[in-house]
């Protein structure tokens, strides 16, 4: 049996391209070729996200990310490769950001041993669905997520 990998979709389903995370989870759910994966939709509940992170050794987080690159750019990166930008005191119950949750898990010494974020630069965060432009990028996001699953399971 291959190693279990948890894929966590983050973001709001009704904020344009921020729906990328939940959408990827939905698409992966239809893919019968995937084995030994756990698909989780964390939505906007950061405490849920933290729980999922604490329960796994290998996690792939999918989210719309502001990488300051051209809209539609897709990247897979580990925490060592980026600087997370957030204001530590700007915490409310709704407003705990992904950056905040990752920092929290790290300071507890409980980050998954293998962790990668697959993100795409959004075109827009307005509208009730993914933008048509992001729909075109979706296959590439799915390809990179599956590539990471294979790396985690075989590596």
């Amino acid at each position: 049996m291959a190693k279990k990998v948890t894929i966590i979709g983050v973001g709001s389903e009704i904020r344009g391209d921020d729906a990328l995370g939940p959408r990827v989870i939905a698409e992966l759910g239809k893919d019968r070729s995937l084995t030994d994966v756990e698909l989780q939709y964390a939505g906007l509940d950061s405490m849920n996200l933290l729980n999922y992170l604490l329960e796994t050794d290998a996690a792939i987080i999918v989210d719309a990310v502001n990488m300051k690159r051209a809209p539609g750019s897709v990247a897979a990166f580990g925490l060592a490769e980026v600087r997370l930008i957030f204001e530590v005191n700007q915490l409310s119950l709704h407003g705990m950001s992904l950056a905040y949750v990752l920092t929290l898990a790290e300071s507890m010494g409980r980050l998954p041993k293998q962790l990668v974020i697959v993100g795409a630069q959004p075109f827009t965060t307005e509208g009730l669905t993914l933008s048509p432009e992001m729909e075109k990028v979706l296959p590439e996001v799915l390809r990179q997520v599956k590539e990471q699953i294979a790396i985690f399971q075989n590596g």
Binding site: D45, M47, L50, L54, Q90, L91, S92, L93
Partner: protein, 434 residues
């Protein structure tokens, strides 16, 4: 030049609360001139969104007023709709609603105490430094939050914004086996509650001792700790029928706040866990009363900072009561009953104790079940004037502290109310006269 006894304090966007509010304090010659909690969040027009909507949609829409008390809004909405139609829910429906409500009460209080209040008591800026030094504490908070989420999901179909609770009952009911599993988990959570109480007790001396008498308003009922039904109870005026809620809330517009202020018998009144505990302490479960004893807590308690302790007592009460409700449901057997509610023209009021205090929804329906008028009065809006009155009493007591310390203590005061500013913001309706 500012004189040494002059202090202007402005806290832009108080952190660790919901939404955006500023604290403004002006001290001249060591005397308080002005203190305000400015609400700068934009209004959200939910009442207007409801106009013309069918009764089946209404609770789903109002649930979105808040991501923390979505269940409370759902239940207040359902109560108002059923009241308007003259519908009386079954005993099973009431029990399931109570169970769902307990899940939310626990979710919200655990999160507030651990993530928003604890950093003040440990004098750290957020929960992140705590996670490093008190990992077990944060893990416990997560465990309890997950339990509360799962309880809400078991009954409501989702951890937030419940789907199955609707006017007339439930569109799906939990299986007895799932209820029994949940009961085991709730029983196993009792040590976590005890540890939570010990933790807060260990830092309880950090709560300032502010004493100010005010009017405490909550639900009250003869035979239970009232949360989703009952009369309004005012510590000044006694019992009032919920249909007369406007005589209590008396909403008025003030110029420094996008949310209206409320007042009843005094210049302000308080709602929330402390009001509930003050008005209904005798109805709490024995374990919650034991925790109160640990803290030497007695009612009436006039220290607003003790709202945090009242939340702890309610968290304990919620776990204990959730177990009892499950026992009753299992004994009676849970039946999947079709909905049998019919619209009727009329006006109805729903009042529910959400984590932050008493919440009112009032709707008027036409004969086909479409809304023609809606009014929602949110707990944080009711507390705003009371918070300002607290500040007026508190600032002269701490006026010799440094500006930073005064600001810190005032933020702590605002946070004690666990305010949900985004929810409280709604604007005046106007009608132009030709």
């Amino acid at each position: 030049m500012t004189a040494p006894n002059d202090k202007n304090i402005f806290v832009h966007h108080v952190t660790r609360v919901e939404g955006h509010g500023n604290i403004k304090v002006d001290i001249k010659n060591g005397k308080l001139v002005e203190s305000q909690l400015q609400i700068v969040e934009s209004p959200r027009f939910f009442e207007s969104l409801l106009l013309g909507r069918r009764y089946t949609d209404v609770a789903l829409i109002t649930s979105r007023i808040c991501g923390i008390c979505s269940t409370g809004h759902t239940l207040a909405s359902i109560n108002a709709t059923e009241d308007a139609f003259g519908y009386k829910p079954s005993e099973q429906t009431i029990l399931l609603r109570k169970l769902l409500h307990r899940g939310e009460n626990l979710q919200s209080h655990v999160l507030h105490l651990y993530c928003l209040v604890a950093p003040d008591l440990f004098r750290v800026g957020s929960v992140v430094p705590l996670a490093a030094t008190h990992t077990d504490v944060v893990l416990r908070a997560l465990r309890m939050k997950k339990l509360a989420n799962d309880l809400a999901e078991l009954v409501g179909g989702r951890a937030v914004h419940p789907q199955s609770a609707v006017p007339g009952g439930f569109t799906s009911v939990p299986k007895v086996s799932a209820l029994l599993d949940m009961k085991k988990r709730l029983e196993a959570a009792v040590p976590d509650l005890t540890e939570t109480a010990k933790l807060i007790l260990s830092v309880a001396d950090k709560f300032p001792n502010l004493q100010r008498q005010t009017e405490y308003v909550s639900l009250q009922s003869d035979n239970e700790y009232a949360l989703i039904a009952g009369d309004i109870c005012s510590s000044d005026a006694g019992r009032i029928d919920i249909h007369n809620y406007r005589k209590v809330t008396n909403e008025k517009v003030v110029d420094h706040s996008a949310a209206k202020h409320c007042a009843h018998k005094r210049s302000s009144y308080a709602v929330g866990a402390l009001s509930r505990v003050n008005n209904n302490f005798d109805k709490l479960c024995p374990m919650a009363k034991d925790v109160a004893k640990m803290f030497g807590f007695k009612t009436p308690c006039n220290n607003p900072f003790m709202n945090n302790l009242a939340q702890l007592l309610e968290a304990v009460d919620s776990v204990v009561h959730a177990i009892q409700i499950i026992d009753t449901l299992v004994k009676n057997g849970v039946k999947d009953v079709p909905l049998d509610i019919t619209p009727k023209a009329g006006t109805g009021v729903g009042a529910v104790e959400v984590p932050r205090g008493i919440l009112f929804h009032e709707y008027t329906y036409d004969a086909k079940g479409f809304i023609t008028n809606a009014n929602c009065i949110i707990p944080t809006g009711q507390n705003l004037a009371n918070i300002e009155d607290d500040m007026r009493t508190f600032v002269p007591q701490i006026v010799n502290d440094t500006k930073e310390e005064i600001a810190f203590k005032l933020e702590m005061l605002v946070r004690a109310y666990d305010p949900c500013i985004s929810c409280a913001t709604h604007l005046l309706d106007v009608e132009f006269v030709d």
